[in-house]
Symmetry: C2
Subunit: 441 residues, 2 copies
């Protein structure tokens, strides 16, 4: 698909989502170019294509408009019509992701398509020790002691790890959750209402797309490339153009491209969002899996206004099955506690206790060091195998840290069909469309 076709498809999709209603004026060519990070020529071609298709109309001396005769937005996602969505639609759009993940988990599957870490890398013996120890105390069976915000020793241990990086996070602003996914979802719920605009990059973690749809928010997608990360100029334009409430980004070892923002970019990002009074929901689940000597600083480091909600977990670096994550929620800590209290009550007590006990009595950093080494080796091995096997026309994006490899296929290869073919041979891959709104339809 050519660049201008991609831009056209993206605009058409925004219209389908209800972000632009029939009769609405679209951004000018110049604005759209800035928004999408493309050239004026590309946008002109895109608008011309949409005009030929009858999707938009040009009004001389005025600009481009969504065709007034266009059918109302399909009810497949957030938008002004979101209130009338049937829940079946929302479920339908997550079907693809759900299917890929479920098939990734089938026994015997070579699961390149799953972001779950290999459970063989978790420190079983130590986890078994701490779990046995905590389950001998009566408090493990009570729920009352671990209601939101969750175990104080665990929150203190997490706050200490921030402090080790020189980041000031008080235990009082941390809420323990069922993994980072609950933290992210609660964060988005706490800072938005249906119909609000939320920025995500594209491609991005499918969980962000699902949350936006489930909460009936309006997505503003900012292009992001495997080589350069999010387009900061396009982000800035979007912030000026739309009344955005929140921005959900994975700033380090991004899923799916593996890209990490530099400290400078993170600092710039926080300042930019603060200027527009936009909350940053920072998904930082892969932060511990860095290459090199020091853990990358999250964007939260530069947050002076309590406007960055830093979400992380132990699922990628210690144990996934426990479902223990957290959010350092700044001034939203109390709202998030109440949201959690209403929806799942709390994370399970023995799991909270076990992680606190692990952090207090085991050598977490020594484990992390081994884990990083193993993951690095495996990634390099996979990359070398892929480089030796795949045609040259495939670009392999491999960034330091994390465990993602992002392959860019040559034109004419449909990653969805490739995924289906691979699945038939018990190999799962995650086709790119899972990480875009287009793919969720």
């Amino acid at each position: 698909m050519k660049k201008y076709q991609q831009v056209a498809a993206s605009i058409q999709h925004q219209i389908a989502l209800g972000a632009w209603l029939p009769g609405d004026k679209l951004p000018s060519l110049r604005e759209q170019a800035a928004l999408t990070g493309t050239s004026l020529i590309t946008v002109t071609h895109a608008y011309q294509q949409l005009e030929r298709q009858g999707v938009i109309q040009v009004r001389p001396q005025s600009g481009y408009y969504v065709s007034p005769t266009l059918a109302p937005p399909v009810s497949d996602g957030p938008g002004p019509q979101a209130g009338s969505d049937s829940p079946a639609d929302i479920q339908g759009i997550s079907q693809a992701v759900f299917d890929v993940l479920q098939s990734s988990c089938r026994p015997g599957m070579v699961a390149f398509g799953s972001a779950f870490p290999d459970p063989g890398l978790f420190p079983h013996r130590q986890l078994n020790q701490v779990l046995t120890r905590v389950s001998s105390s009566a408090t493990a069976y009570s729920v009352a002691d671990y209601l939101p915000p969750g175990s104080l020793p665990l929150r203190r241990a997490i706050a200490r790890r921030y402090a080790q990086q020189g980041i000031a996070v008080d235990a009082a602003e941390i809420v323990i959750t069922a993994g980072a996914l609950e933290a992210l979802n609660l964060s988005l719920s706490a800072v938005t209402a249906p119909g609000d605009y939320v920025i995500v990059e594209t491609p991005c973690f499918y969980g962000a797309l699902q949350a936006i749809q489930r909460l009936r928010l309006k997505p503003v997608t900012i292009p992001s490339t495997a080589g350069e990360g999010i387009d900061m100029a396009a982000l800035e334009t979007a912030l000026s153009r739309w009344p955005v409430k929140a921005c959900w980004l994975m700033t380090t070892h991004q899923n799916p491209t593996g890209y990490s923002l530099s400290p400078e970019k993170k600092q710039h990002l926080v300042a930019l969002l603060a200027r527009h009074q936009v909350v940053l929901i920072e998904d930082d689940v892969y932060g511990e899996l860095y290459d090199g000597v020091a853990k990358p600083l999250p964007a939260k480091t530069w947050d002076n206004a309590g406007q960055v909600l830093h979400c992380a977990s132990f699922s990628k670096c210690l144990v996934a099955g426990f479902r223990i994550g957290w959010v350092a929620a700044g001034k939203y800590a109390r709202s998030i506690q109440q949201m959690q209290f209403m929806s799942t009550l709390s994370a399970s007590s023995p799991m909270q206790l076990a992680v606190a006990e692990y952090l207090a009595t085991q050598r977490y950093d020594a484990h992390l060091k081994r884990l990083r080494h193993t993951l690095h080796q495996r990634k390099q091995y996979a990359r070398a195998l892929l480089a030796a096997t795949l045609p040259e026309a495939v670009t392999i994006h491999c960034h330091p840290g994390g465990y993602f490899l992002w392959l860019e296929l040559p034109p004419g290869i449909d990653s969805q069909r490739l995924s289906e073919r691979a699945l038939a041979d018990n190999i799962s891959i995650a086709p790119g469309h899972l990480f875009t709104f287009q793919g969720l339809c």
Copy 2:
């Protein structure tokens, strides 16, 4: 507050919630009497009061209308304007419940206000055994094996317990959740969209009220008394009057009154809802805590259409801190799995495994028998103490099973103020307003 004043307050609150907009025609006197289960005289008085207050207007030969000049609904809950609610409002309304629960959990508190069972009643030694056992297996640390719908051995064990009661529930329709609260919330999400009408009884479990507000649904409240339970005639009228999508009821040992519907009423309820194609979300977390020889049958027993979502958990009868519950979701099982997958991913693996192991290797029914005996004794003791101590004007409602006592105070006693007074002496009670929409404001 006199009966007609209660009815007036309830209508005014429905208007505030946006269930009736300025200019809307209200139910006729006769309809309203049926809806609220009160007399024509009471409703006439209520309407007259609202008319005097300028809230409603009478139009001769036509009926009663919400005053067109009335300010738009306050944004404190679901309603047509729900989309413009700020999340702060939704959090504000749960503040009261959150505060009571948090204070109930303070050390040294005599916690009559909390529905959490005494953790001293859980079988610690056996739970410790099973937790130690399952944590020695690698699978406890993986998340992939326990994604929605959750552990198959656990779902099979739960299905067998249904079968023992003669209820046909397939393991395939069961989804394991983080306690019943997640099951209930997922169920309501799966069968409604914002703006839909949902029936609850009043008073009812505050979790239902919070869920309705959080999901921006419109509540239709049916009166329920501690002596008679839900008013079936009013329910029937409401079903004819409103395009209701779902009905959330606690059918056995209701929180807060302790009332259980008879098998006949449950059967009638299921048939009635089926006729109106309304989904029943059946909250049955206290079912195991019966008095007598046999476990009460849930309404799910009479469900032929897969339209009853039966939600329960191990939190009240085995262990609360594990956060393991489930929903037998009929034809909605897959939708609920996807909802869970998007919001919390799954219940924690060791907790799922531990409960499955407990059910397979320990004597659950023997534990339940002891538990029921102890709870019965404690409730009778508390009742006797209360009867000996409280003024005669207080009515103590004590139904068989469960562990609730519902006290009806004489006119002039404000339960909210009583609650505050008691709290100062480290005694928590749950004032009645927590269980009504009025109380949530």
